[in-house]
């Protein structure tokens, strides 16, 4: 179990993580979502004792990372693709990590086999592709057979087959009873991988809920209505309990009411309808809206477009 309590971290003037508290439980994949620059990597580095929090604590099964005597047996971490000396072979990279806590050489071959790198075990890591680098990082994370896994953007740079492989793999690790904490800036990726979501924006917690719950929210319907009598129609819909946003002179967005009911209201009032289009928001849009709202709610100033999630690759 991972526990973050009031984590706060500043880099100079910039607050990377602000009073962040959450718990990550065992037996499921927990997605850690946020736009690029939201503080996901920083939070993970704080959990792993690489960076020091200005305030708050992060513990793994009740202990700070630095207090773990054989950390690799407790926590496996994948931080970035190439946290590896390019001149060292995959085998030697794992060997120097294993030796530090008395893990056997046999286990090195086991994890290499597990991630599919056996054939290049004695090749220098500098020649590895991004995907192979991720696999090597994952092998290092699994060396000590840890009960907790912390993975930062593991699908980055992987081809579709690799993404599928890692997704299945993470679920399997969770099914074995492990705590799997995985970050991503891609909502859609997390929707199919994680059972629980922790969403942050600008270093603060936005949501901490089961993925299913978030998806339900994301599916909230909006109906686009075009009518020459938009003004009167809007009043009628509002009276009947719908939430109306006026887009322009003859276009409305209606929430909390389905298209059938809108049609009935229009007919009853004698309003001409040009178009009634139910729109299903994507998860990605719901995620964007959520992170945007939180920023506005926090009153930290304007919402910068640069903070919005991008659907492309690129780690933070």
């Amino acid at each position: 179990m991972i526990e973050a309590k009031n984590l706060t971290k500043r880099y100079g003037d910039k607050v990377a993580v602000k009073d962040l508290s959450f718990t990550v439980g065992p037996g499921k994949v927990t997605g850690f979502l946020g736009p690029n620059g939201a503080g996901k990597s920083t939070t993970m580095r704080l959990i792993l004792g690489l960076d020091h929090p200005d305030r708050g604590t992060a513990t793994i099964d009740g202990k700070r990372y630095r207090e773990l005597t054989t950390p690799l047996a407790a926590v496996g971490a994948l931080l970035e693709a190439k946290a590896v000396h390019p001149g060292r072979t995959a085998y030697n990279h794992l060997l120097c990590l294993a030796q530090s806590q008395g893990i056997s050489k046999k286990r090195i071959y086991e994890v290499l086999d597990l991630v599919g790198l056996s054939e290049v075990a004695h090749k220098r890591a500098g020649g590895f592709s991004l995907g192979m680098g991720q696999r090597l990082g994952l092998a290092a994370a699994l060396l000590g057979d840890p009960a907790v896994l912390v993975l930062d953007e593991p699908v980055n740079g992987l081809d579709p087959e690799g993404i599928l492989w890692i997704r299945t793999f993470m679920r399997q690790l969770a099914a074995e009873g492990r705590t799997v904490f995985v970050s991503s800036h891609l909502m859609n990726e997390m929707a199919v991988t994680a059972e629980h979501l922790i969403i942050i924006g600008r270093g603060s917690l936005i949501a901490d809920c089961p993925t299913q719950e978030f998806i339900e929210q994301g599916k909230k319907q909006t109906v686009l209505v075009r009518s020459p009598n938009a003004g009167e129609l809007a009043a009628a819909i509002t009276r009947a309990g719908g939430a109306v946003t006026r887009n322009d002179d003859n276009e409305l967005s209606v929430e909390d009411m389905d298209a059938t009911r809108i049609g009935e209201i229009a007919s009853a009032g004698g309003h001409v309808l040009h178009e009634v289009v139910p729109q299903r928001g994507t998860l990605e849009e719901a995620f964007m809206a959520l992170t945007r709202e939180s920023v506005e709610y926090a009153g930290t100033g304007s919402t910068r477009e640069a903070d919005a999630p991008k659907s492309g690759g690129g780690a933070e």
Partner: protein, 276 residues
């Protein structure tokens, strides 16, 4: 490729923490990158070759050498033999010492290292121990080989042997000096955390700045120079304390050791305090 269960087969994962494990780990790191072989190979090659070259020149020019210089050479042939080779080959050790830690930062390896060894001071201690012992071993071999080559070449003009007063200590001393230099460079590398900046600053200091302090006028220059880390440390490579040396060979080496210890303390303090 299918995802198979990550569970290890029985008893492959029996982890335990020990300083021996850390030493093992650092030894693997050191031997598994090319820069180590290059640096130590260069040292082993350059030290005896430059000894042969410079002692050869001394012998060849013996007839044109002033009588005062001849007697200076005769008074401490050990220093002449050793001094020619290892001064020139010491940058190899500076590079190795800095690289051992700074390359971990430049490649990102430091994060993998610290995840496996969150007790950072133990990691630094293990690194320093492995590095200095390996450098000491290679340097001692190079020093003895150089001494025998040099002594043989110089024998027709001046007799030099390990039995001379202070000679054995001087030969072993150059090994100790280079081992200390590797720790000195390791400390700088850990403080600077950048390979290029670290290597440049150590080499500039050792080869250029420190010797230049000699040129400062008066007593100040004399004392400042005598107590500089590497300049003081070099005295261990002489068989006897020369006229004008403010420190004995062992005192000089002690001064170098204190400087290095101070830098290592600073490096350890920063390593513990800074974000990785």
């Amino acid at each position: 490729m299918t995802a198979t269960a990550a569970r290890p087969t029985a008893s492959t994962v029996a982890s335990r923490a020990s300083f021996g494990g850390l030493l093992h780990s650092e030894w693997t790191k050191l031997r598994s990158v090319r820069s180590t072989g290059w640096s130590l190979g260069l040292l082993a090659l350059l030290y005896p070759s430059f000894t042969a070259l410079l002692v050869g020149l001394t012998v060849a020019n013996w007839d044109q050498t002033a009588a005062s210089d001849r007697s200076l050479i005769a008074s401490d042939p050990t220093a002449v033999i050793l001094g020619s080779g290892f001064l020139i080959s010491q940058p190899a050790i500076c590079v190795l010492g800095v690289m051992v830690i700074a390359s971990e930062y430049s490649t990102g390896m430091i994060r993998a290292s610290l995840l496996a060894k969150p007790r950072r001071l133990s990691m630094l201690a293990a690194k320093g121990a492995v590095l200095s012992l390996v450098v000491l071993a290679v340097s001692l071999v190079a020093a003895f080989v150089s001494f025998f080559i040099g002594a043989a070449m110089l024998s027709e003009k001046v007799a030099a042997s390990l039995g001379d007063p202070g000679a054995l200590r001087a030969v072993v001393g150059t090994g100790l000096y280079l081992a200390m230099l590797s720790l000195f460079s390791l400390a700088i590398g850990a403080i600077v955390r950048r390979t290029a900046a670290g290597i440049t600053s150590v080499i500039m200091f050792v080869l250029v700045l420190a010797p230049l302090v000699q040129l400062l006028p008066g007593k100040f220059g004399e004392y400042a120079h005598a107590y500089l880390p590497t300049e003081a440390g070099l005295l261990i490579g002489q068989a006897i304390q020369h006229e004008g040396d403010l420190l004995t060979p062992w005192q000089g080496f002690g001064v170098f050791g204190l400087w290095t210890a101070a830098l290592l303390v600073l490096a350890a303090f920063l390593l513990n305090r800074r974000d990785a």
